[in-house]
């Protein structure tokens, strides 16, 4: 019965799941992860609860603090852990000389890449799911809306997909897992942390009325620069989440807003984030499939 389901599910995917779940490190990593995150959340809750004045709505502030902490953990997880679980996807098969054997089966490169992606996405989602009880703590205390959770989880899921596909694409092109890991981290960290920092620096320099600010920027150029800054912020799930959640907290429109220059209404970083990440995912998927299918 299970084997029949396996065949329908894609045998490579089934094998990937078996491999993950047979490893004692998986269970150890999940346990340690839950213990650390849970302990920090309880510590945060206790500290916030004890330090808050006993007024109406103080529980909400504690709930919001726990929620933002958990979202932060998820973003760190996405940025630092997800690339590591993706970068060995294809290079490991190549190093263990099994990639050729898989390529000779009737499955195409797309099938192999989808199986690798699904197994790793499943594991990443598992890391997200095990945090849901902690998120329920934040909801229990109030101060958090469901749409805030929806936006945060949505951003995390999209960025997980993108980072996994970047890792798999790099892994398909790399000769060794070590080089795939190094290149994946370089791409992910430079886009998740470097790009928004550059965007914010530009925003501050151009529109922040700093001593170096050019005062004679034309309106069209201002709009273009605004769009570029929003796109730069939208490259990173961290800056996108910060802007989206702060927009929700201030009841602002999370899809369109007035740019840094104040010259025009533009798509927010969230819109750019969705577009950039989905396009990047598609490009990385195509690149990985093409490489796996290509003869050596």
């Amino acid at each position: 019965m299970s084997a029949d389901i396996g065949l329908r599910l894609n045998p490579i995917l089934v094998h990937e799941f078996e491999r993950q779940m047979r490893s004692r490190y998986t269970h150890l990593a999940l346990t340690v992860y839950l213990v650390v995150v849970g302990s920090l959340a309880v510590l945060l809750y206790t500290t916030s609860f004890l330090s808050s004045t006993r007024t109406v709505g103080s529980n909400g502030a504690v709930g919001a603090a726990v929620f933002y902490f958990l979202v932060g953990v998820l973003l760190i997880l996405t940025t630092f852990i997800v690339p590591a679980i993706a970068a060995n996807a294809i290079s490991e098969e190549r190093q263990s000389l099994t990639l050729d054997l898989l390529r000779l089966t009737p499955f195409g490169g797309g099938y192999i890449v989808r199986a690798k992606l699904a197994a790793r996405f499943g594991f990443a989602v598992l890391l997200l799911i095990v945090m849901l009880p902690l998120f329920s703590l934040a909801f229990m205390l109030g101060g958090v809306e469901l749409r805030e959770l929806g936006i945060a989880v949505g951003i995390v899921l999209i960025s997980m997909l993108t980072y996994l596909l970047i890792g798999i694409c790099v892994s398909a092109h790399a000769k060794t897992t070590a080089s795939a890991l190094a290149l994946t981290y370089t791409i992910v960290l430079s886009t998740a942390i470097g790009t928004p920092l550059i965007a914010l620096l530009n925003a501050a320099t151009l529109f922040g009325r700093l001593p170096t600010s050019p005062q004679d920027i034309s309106a069209v150029l201002a709009v273009l620069l605004d769009a570029a800054i929003n796109a730069g912020l939208g490259v990173s799930p961290i800056s996108t989440t910060v802007f989206a959640l702060s927009g929700l907290a201030s009841d602002a429109n999370i899809w369109l807003n007035v740019g840094f220059s104040g010259s025009a209404v533009l798509p927010t970083p969230l819109v750019f984030f969705i577009a950039i990440h989905l396009i990047s995912s598609a490009v990385c998927y195509a690149g990985a499939v093409r490489r796996v299918n290509a003869p050596d």
Partner: protein, 302 residues
């Protein structure tokens, strides 16, 4: 069954294969023989659709390995020189995994896996992790994997390389049994002697060029010449040579002084032996010469 037409491959500006043209009928065992770097593995990888030629084409059962990969792949079973395994799987799981990949229904897989493990004599190791197998056992497991989808053509890259003599004999028997099932086998080797017992056809490659190809009888000369350079009594050597199985004729040619040696002691004699025996006989000749006290300086087939 297999037709290779003017196949060439270049890699990094270097010609790996040069205008290879050869064929093998259905049910044949084609041995591709040549020294390391001759292009045997490159040719096999092209046949296995894992590599592309820069010119020419090869057909397997009428399908182009270059343009009809999807049609060719189900027809071939490929055993690489170094077998890739998943360390987390047992032998049975490894074969079941590839059976699933080839779309064998789940209810048929246990029997298929057992049959294949019995065929390669690994049934007793079915529950052992694959990474605990010896290289020779891995080679046999690889053969079982290559057979998992019952391919018409088997492409085996140096299948004898890691096997001990007994395992080589067993593999030869297995391959013969497979040809009786009308499978066509292409195997590579560095030695013609290694494959001449089982191959029906052979192709000799050197530096990417096809030196000779065709049915084995046309490749293997009926008489070979062994040139032996020795020191010592030539008559003893001659008498011994003629007493060994497979030796048709033996004669001495003019000796030449050994470079750097004193002329009185160092007359190197050269004996030419015409030979139609196997390599075991040649080995027996060498042993006999050495045991008789003749100092063999070199022993070479021409």
């Amino acid at each position: 069954m297999i037709e290779i037409k003017h196949l060439s491959q270049q890699r990094k500006g270097q010609r790996v294969l040069d205008e290879i043209t050869l064929s093998a009928p259905g049910g044949a065992i084609l041995g591709i023989v040549g020294p390391r770097g001759a292009g045997k593995t490159s040719l096999l990888r092209i046949l296995a659709t894992l590599d592309t030629p820069t010119a020419g084409d090869a057909l397997i059962a009428g399908y182009s390995v270059n343009h009809q990969r999807a049609q060719v792949r189900p027809l071939i079973g490929y055993l690489p020189a170094a077998l890739g395994v998943y360390a987390d799987q047992t032998c049975a799981e490894y074969l079941a995994f590839f059976a699933a990949c080839y779309g064998i229904p789940a209810r048929e897989r246990p029997a298929l896996v057992s049959d294949l493990l019995r065929l390669v004599e690994l049934y007793h190791r079915r529950d052992d992790p694959v990474d605990r197998l010896s290289p020779a056992m891995r080679q046999r497991l690889g053969l079982a994997r290559a057979l998992v989808h019952d391919p018409l053509v088997l492409l085996l890259d140096e299948p004898m390389r890691l096997l001990d003599p007994r395992a080589q004999v067993e593999l030869r028997e297995t391959l013969k049994a497979l040809t009786e099932m009308n499978k066509t086998i292409v195997m590579t080797s560095t030695s013609l002697a290694e494959v001449q017992d089982i191959c029906t056809h052979a192709a000799i490659l050197r530096d990417g060029q096809l030196v000779e190809s065709g049915p084995l009888e046309s490749i293997t000369p009926s008489h070979r010449r062994i040139v032996i350079k020795l020191l010592g009594d030539p008559q003893t050597a001659l008498r011994l040579a003629l007493s060994v199985n497979g030796v048709v004729e033996a004669q001495f040619v003019a000796g030449s002084p050994l470079p750097g040696a004193r002329p009185a002691l160092a007359l190197l004699k050269e004996m030419h032996v015409t030979f139609d025996g196997g390599y075991a006989d040649a080995s027996a000749l060498l042993r006999a010469l050495m045991h008789s006290g003749v100092q063999v300086v070199s022993f070479q087939e021409e």
